[in-house]
């Protein structure tokens, strides 16, 4: 069942001379883990803003085409209604936390919805537990590391129990270890709770093993939209300059040198298995 359906989406920022995205059509199934990638300025962030209604409600401007997220028509539903279905996590963790304690921050969205206090408390506990930050409950945001802050930001969104979680380059301010932890948390949410994840990311090496759907954008529109293996091994992905996982790259290099292995690996685990199998076969 499709949870996001975009048809011929075109949007121009107010005062912009050309559209930031044009002719974007995309279908995302419920429970998918989607990686959205492409060179800087290709319209990824703009597309993310469309998913929860920041475009067109917050940014104004003209949105053409049709976009349905969780059965809601984005142009007709106010942002706060979209917010209950689509959670958006931003790049800079610092600028999405505004309370003086982690607990209060996670409760913020629920407070806005006017939920009863007991329910808020239950959900806050649950969200903190899911993101593995229970021990940070009383801390102030500025005392936390970037990775911890970003996990708090995810908890904030998670507490609202959305069906879709959109993360716009959540790891670009983090070190590799922090990034890996974030990916693990997201993947856990995707597998355990069936939350549909859309992850905008450049570090495909770490992220790709969790994904089952990859979308590549370039020049304001979608150029590739398929399973990870097909996308990473395609010629156009290489030409656009997407950071193809090293495992896939290795496979391509081997192929250039005349060594043909049956299928392209998309992460290091798969590459190890593949190479092990081949080496064993050769020895035997």
């Amino acid at each position: 069942m499709a949870i996001i359906e975009a048809k011929n989406l075109t949007y121009t920022y107010p005062g912009g001379t050309q559209p930031a995205i044009k002719g974007v059509s995309l279908t995302i199934e419920k429970g998918d883990f989607v990686i959205l990638t492409g060179p800087s300025g290709c319209g990824k962030t703009t597309l993310c803003r469309c998913f929860n209604g920041l475009i067109p409600h917050f940014y104004a401007g003209r949105l053409e085409g049709e976009l349905k997220v969780a059965k809601l028509n984005v142009t007709e539903s106010p942002i706060y209604e979209m917010a209950c279905h689509v959670g958006l996590v931003f790049q800079n963790p610092e600028n999405q936390l505004f309370a003086l304690s982690v607990e209060k921050d996670v409760a913020f969205g629920l407070e806005n919805l006017g939920m009863p206090r007991d329910e808020i408390r239950k959900r806050v506990d649950w969200a903190l537990q899911m993101t593995d930050i229970e021990e940070l409950r009383e801390r102030a945001p500025h005392e936390l590391s970037g990775g911890q802050q970003q996990r708090v930001a995810i908890a904030c969104v998670l507490a609202m129990q959305p069906e879709v979680m959109v993360l716009d380059e959540p790891t670009s301010f983090l070190d590799p270890l922090g990034a890996q932890k974030i990916f693990e948390v997201i993947s856990e949410l995707n597998r355990q709770l069936g939350i549909t994840v859309i992850l905008v990311e450049h570090r495909l090496d770490l992220a790709s093993k969790h994904a089952n759907h990859v979308v590549i954008m370039d020049e304001r529109t979608i150029v590739l939209d398929d399973k990870p293996r097909e996308v990473f091994d395609s010629e156009s992905a290489r030409l656009i300059g997407v950071g193809i996982p090293k495992a896939t790259k290795l496979w391509q290099m081997l192929r250039q040198n005349g060594i043909r292995l049956d299928r392209a690996p998309v992460n290091s685990e798969e590459a190890i298995q593949l190479l092990r199998g081949v080496l064993k076969r050769d020895r035997g």
Partner: protein, 261 residues
């Protein structure tokens, strides 16, 4: 600014920190009123000493002393100015010697600083905003208040980064006369303001994405409830108020000059 040092918050678990901010504010107001009511040194000294147990109970002595130190310069200034005006033809109560009235004025100021610093040192900004909210101040103001406090350390860090960056480009901050020095800070301020505006946009986006303004009737995770300690403080403060009114009206407080001569 060492005066403000005393007003920075550090969370400690103490009976004073647990008190309802509204009650603490009532206490501050009553101390304020009593301090205004008396011109004599003796009751003001008493008022100053009475508050010390609170400070000890909250274990904020260090910060408290620091805020008093910061205020001492102003207190001395108040003394000097009052003394000068009294000496050169001003009027002061005839029962006092020329130094007692200015001394009382400085003491009064110190009592005010003391009570306000107890309030701010033992009240978390979160609690304060909650108290405002429950006193029917619109939520937008309370939110702006806590957010401002939340971003103070962030902006301070950013200002430092910008200063380093500009110094690396050859900006000399500590050079020239006073006006030149103030002007030197323009290349720091402009990037700071620009980035603050950009930050505020991102904040607004994040707020919108978390259902800001979904309902008129917003709930709050916490709720302030009056406990027995709060009622005790109310009774103590009201008792102090009543005593002082009685003393003011029916007992003539001797001035230090009268006691000494």
């Amino acid at each position: 600014m060492s005066v403000f040092e005393g007003f920075r918050f550090r969370y400690i678990h103490s009976p004073i920190h647990q008190l309802d901010p509204r009650v603490k504010f009532l206490y501050v107001l009553i101390i304020f009123g009593i301090a205004i009511a008396f011109l004599e040194v003796l009751p003001l000294v008493l008022l100053f000493l009475i508050q010390i147990p609170f400070v000890l109970l909250a274990s904020v002595q260090r910060e408290w002393v620091r805020s008093l130190k910061g205020a001492s310069f102003l207190a001395i200034l108040i003394f000097v100015v009052n003394f000068a005006f009294g000496y050169f033809g001003g009027t002061y109560p005839s029962s006092m010697s020329p130094w007692e009235y200015p001394l009382a004025m400085s003491l009064r100021f110190l009592v005010l600083v003391e009570s306000f610093s107890i309030f701010f040192l033992t009240t978390s900004p979160d609690h304060l905003s909650l108290a405002l909210e429950q006193s029917h101040v619109p939520y937008e103001f309370c939110f702006a208040f806590t957010t401002a406090i939340r971003f103070v350390p962030v902006l301070a860090e950013e200002a430092q980064t910008i200063m380093d960056a500009q110094k690396a480009r050859g900006l000399e901050l500590e050079r020239g006369n006073f006006i030149k020095r103030v002007k030197n800070y323009i290349p720091i301020l402009i990037p700071l303001i620009v980035s603050a505006i950009r930050r505020s946009l991102e904040l607004a986006e994040a707020m919108e994405s978390r259902a800001w303004g979904a309902t008129e009737k917003r709930t709050n995770l916490y709720l302030l409830k009056m406990k027995s300690a709060d009622y005790a403080l109310i009774i103590v403060s009201l008792g102090m108020l009543i005593c002082s009114i009685y003393v003011r009206l029916y007992i003539s407080v001797p001035s230090l000059t009268m006691l000494l001569t």
